[in-house]
């Protein structure tokens, strides 16, 4: 697990990891991460990802990179969600407002997506809270 937000320092036991771990425990979340165009900021241990996703990881990653171009272009104008279907999978991007980062999840194309979306939204809200807290602690320590 790694976190290279902010100053680029890898942090162990980051609270963001716990949020992603919770998501990854859901049967139909095959892989998830917080990512941006330039980097995967927080990603759970890839061994917890579904093996099917790992097989397709290179293609998914390339497609994700292209989507992040759109996110970077429009995240400041209210874009908050993108998804695409690739083979038997769907990749959901929940954009973290005012950033170029997104919470990304890979799910089976046949999954009951509506139910997963509720927990994705909960995760996004938790991540925003954590980031806000981290930023406020960072400012206090200056």
């Amino acid at each position: 697990m790694m976190n290279i937000f902010g100053d680029g320092v890898w942090v162990q036991n980051d609270p963001l990891e716990l949020v992603l771990d919770d998501l990854l425990k859901l049967d139909d979340i095959l892989g998830c991460m917080v990512a941006s165009k330039t980097m995967i900021a927080v990603m759970p241990d890839q061994s917890k990802f579904d093996p099917q996703v790992l097989e397709l990881w290179d293609i998914i990653k390339r497609a994700m990179d292209d989507v992040f171009v759109v996110i970077r272009e429009y995240s400041q104008t209210g874009l908050n969600e993108i998804e695409f279907r690739l083979q038997d999978y769907e990749v959901l991007f929940y954009i973290l407002p005012d950033t170029e980062n997104a919470l990304v999840a890979i799910i089976p194309a046949l999954a009951n997506k509506g139910l997963l979306e509720v927990e994705m939204e909960n995760a996004r809200r938790e991540i925003l809270e954590i980031m806000k807290k981290q930023e406020s602690e960072r400012l206090t320590s200056l």
């Binding site: 919770d22 425990k25 859901l26 049967d27 969600e81 194309a109 046949l110 009951n112 997506k113 509506g114 139910l115 997963l116 979306e117 509720v118 927990e119 994705m120 939204e121 909960n122």
Partner: protein, 429 residues
Amino acid sequence: MDYKLGETQAAVGISRKWDAREAGRDVARSTLQKLNSSPNFFLLFSTIHYEKYGGFEEFLNGVWDVLPQGTPLVGGTVPGFMNNYGCFTRGATGLAIASKNMDVSIGIGNNTKRSPKKAAKNFSEMINNKKQTNYSNKFLFVLISGSIVPSFPGMGMKRVIKTKIPSSVVSRMLKTSLQVSQKGVGREDIILEEISKQMPDFSIIGGSSIDDNKMEKNYQFFNDKVFTNSVVGLSLQTDSPILLDSQVAVKKTDKVFKAQTAGEKYVINRINNKPATKTLFELLDWPESFMDERLHRRTFFYPILFEKEEEIFPEVIGVLAGNSIVCGFDIKSDDLFIGHSSRKILLNAIKNSVQNITKQGKPDLGLVIYCSSFLEALGRDFFEVRRILMDAYDEAPFVLIAAGGEDFRIPDKIPKHCNETINTAAFSF
């Protein structure tokens, strides 16, 4: 969330823990800590996840580590819920009331899919046999084991079976599956009708217990035991006002058709005297490529409707098997419509429901049963539904559970089990 008024207190709790035992303790603790005295009952709803994280027996053991012995408890698995704390499709929620001014009784009936009438009678007897004070308002909450997609030899557990099997064979297979393995439709319509006969003075709301919308399994809770294929419920008698409302979140379209059922009344084998599936797709202008396992993501926006005694009954298509359309409950008319739902219609329905309830009085506690297909259709817009409810309930506790089918009945009206409705019981203490 807690709420105190006079001698009655209501509370709603939650747990998001993963471990079944810890979650059981947590949901009981977070509910009961807001009550000043022991609860009259405990309603418990959980998502299916605890099956893999310790099991539901351990989950209930956790609840009973905290809940005072002898408290009547009923509940079961649901695909999702919302309450004053948020919207969730993983976790558990509890609802309890402590009051000196109400009678509570609980009941259970087993083998609901094999013997629905018998299960309903046993359930009603248990509740009716308990001596009750003569309170004026009689309310019943029911949770019935919902449909389970049957698994056919060589076909597995599928919602869309393209093999050309005759409708008569589909009907026979479904009937056998219900009798032998209790897999298939939930028979909630039959159960609700029978309970309504046995308990004519009661207003009823309820829902079908299911899993995470996969329709593979579901569990019901009754005191300290876990059951499958059961109806569980709770009667509540009080002099306090009980505010009720039912909303259908579907509009009729001008697409009308004649349907013929094959043996089982929930299997449509012909539409306008032609093979059912193909004709339905023609009516909807849908290409054949839509006939895949993602079908249910589309059909909940286009349910089948029938009318009975001026009430609309929407049915979400459950399974397509060859040219047969398998619905979730008996179709009680030959004249059917195709309905249409949308995000706007759903949100308007919840707004209407809230308006109708608040017109009747100030809700001090709300219990809302909401079709699980809405949860699937709305996704993260489920949070918008919560915003509407939060505005209406203010500080008062409420729980909304998603269900695989919804039940509603008020005395002197026909009992109604269907999909795509929003049923509310609010209590004014």
